[in-house]
């Protein structure tokens, strides 16, 4: 971790942008992983269900089939797991070996 003095702030502040409050992904201890074989949207290849997209409090799940999760900002709350009607999402520990096996097949964020 580097030094913070270049931010020049004396009063803590943020401004409107993607991830205004900072990269909430670094709060996460477990990450959601979508199983496309169980996800209704993925199986039908259609924008259906979308319960996860609707309920994610950080608005980081895309409205796509299959839904994609932006791990830069997913805080790992697990709400998507709770609302998914087909148990298609599971939380896997960060920094464990199997965490790499994201079904999204995308590079995880650098945290």
């Amino acid at each position: 971790m580097g030094q913070t003095r270049d931010c020049g702030q004396k009063t803590a502040m943020s401004w409107p942008c993607v991830g205004e409050a900072g990269r909430t992904g670094d709060w996460r201890t477990t990450r959601p992983v979508v199983d496309p074989d169980k996800c209704i949207a993925a199986r039908k290849d259609k924008i259906v269900c979308m319960q996860c997209w609707m309920f994610c409090p950080d608005n980081v799940i895309s409205r796509t089939a299959p839904p994609e999760i932006d791990l830069e900002y997913c805080k790992g709350c697990g709400i998507c797991v709770q609302v998914c009607p087909s148990q298609a999402i599971e939380m896997r520990p960060e920094h464990a070996e199997n965490a790499e096996a994201s079904v999204m097949e995308e590079a995880p964020c650098d945290s």
């Binding site: 971790m1 004396k10 009063t11």
Partner: protein, 405 residues
């Protein structure tokens, strides 16, 4: 130097505070009435209502809201003033911390009053001293001219170091007592106190959120810039307090060159040069101590006074430098850190210890809840301490002046 005196008014300390706020051209006043501060904001509300002062007076339902309004107004670039006392100040407590942590140059008056219980509206300094660790600069005044002048200095200091300043003056003893005060012309004040330029932050063109949740460790913000964690912000606040020591001195020096009056910056002294017995206090009590010191000198005790003007930042080095020749320091506190001692006394003990000085330091609690305290009682306390030292008695417990128990 001598500066032409424009006009002398015979006014109370509260009126002096209101006059200073007027001449500082404050933009916003938000306050809730509480004795003995109320006449300050009553006067300001009259100035604003009658157009003498072009400002907003925002009435609120509590001191907590008063400081909340001050925070919002200061964050949007206004020069802001408020005043309070005792229970009102305590009710403001949570917002005091927000003001300092947001680094907003709010200036407030505190007409010092005893804290309840039991109920009292009379003077001591427990109210302000209890707010010691909120991050505010605290300056103590000994007369009404110093109140007026310290408010003007307070705005300069606050705006330079970006910390809020509390100007403290003893309730009734100063707040309701009339004294001659030299009120300068607006142009003179303008020359000393330039218009407030904003360092922060609320601006419709660049909307932002101040004081978002700040975690323990530094984090990247949305733009990928590594921003301070909580501790970095708090370290910067401490650094600002350290810098404030020079700024307080400079504000006073500059004040003297504009108005011909100096109040000493962090501390002031009376017959201190050859003194081996030093009386130390803050506020009007320290003024009283000068009379005691004169009496003690007539009796052959080489007494002097070191007055504490800035309580936070605490000028440890400046005090140590001036107490290098002292054999006995007698500290009078008008408040108490319950379970230990007088707050100024215990800070002084630690400061001198750090500076490898070891005079005898005796603490006395005086004037709580408005208990009258006269110069002759201070004199008697010093005589008691001098005798104690002569007899080489063991540790002296904190004395309570004029206690009738």
């Amino acid at each position: 130097m001598t500066v032409e005196t424009k006009s002398i008014s015979v006014i109370t300390g509260n009126k002096a505070a209101a006059e200073a706020a007027r001449l500082a051209r404050v933009d916003v006043v938000a306050a809730y009435p509480i004795t003995p501060q109320s006449p300050v904001v009553e006067a300001l509300s009259k100035y604003i209502e009658t157009g003498i002062l072009d400002a907003e007076f925002i009435t609120v339902e509590s001191e907590h809201s008063a400081m909340g309004v001050c925070i919002g107004a200061a964050a949007s670039g206004s020069r802001v003033f408020t005043a309070s006392s005792a229970n009102g100040l305590a009710y403001m407590c949570e917002q005091l911390s927000w003001a300092a942590g947001s680094r907003l140059p709010i200036v407030m008056g505190c007409a010092n009053r005893a804290m309840s219980a039991p109920w009292s509206v009379l003077n001591d300094q427990q109210d302000a001293m209890s707010q010691r660790d909120q991050g505010w600069i605290q300056l103590y005044c000994r007369n009404n001219q110093e109140i007026f002048d310290t408010f003007l200095q307070g705005f300069r200091i606050a705006e330079q170091v970006q910390l809020p300043v509390m100007v403290c003056y003893d309730g009734y003893i100063l707040s309701h007592t009339v004294m001659p005060v030299d009120i300068p012309e607006q142009e003179q004040v303008d020359a000393y106190l330039p218009p407030y330029s904003v360092h922060t932050v609320l601006d419709p063109d660049t909307p932002r959120n101040i004081n978002p949740v700040t975690l323990a460790d530094p984090r990247l913000n949305g733009d990928g810039v590594l921003c301070h964690g909580y501790m970095e912000f708090r370290y910067l606040m401490q650094q600002a307090h350290q810098e404030a020591m020079d700024v307080i001195v400079a504000a006073d020096v500059e004040f003297e060159s504009c108005f011909g009056r100096s109040w000493g910056g962090l501390t002031w002294s009376h017959k201190l040069d050859d003194a081996d017995t030093v009386l130390l206090a803050a506020g009007s009590l320290a003024g009283e101590a000068t009379i005691a010191a004169d009496t003690l000198r007539e009796e052959g005790i080489r007494a002097g006074v070191l007055g504490l003007r800035s309580y936070r930042p605490f000028p440890a080095a400046a005090l140590a430098a001036q107490l290098a020749g002292a054999r006995l320091v007698v500290v009078f506190d008008k408040s108490l850190s319950y379970g230990y001692g007088g707050p100024i006394c215990i800070d002084l003990q630690a400061a001198l210890m750090n500076h490898r000085l070891s005079p005898e330091i005796h603490g006395y609690i005086a004037g709580l809840g408005g208990r009258d305290i006269k110069a002759r009682e201070l004199t008697a306390a010093v005589q008691e301490s001098v005798a104690w030292v002569k007899q080489e008695k063991a540790l002296k417990p904190t004395g309570w002046i004029n206690l009738k128990l």
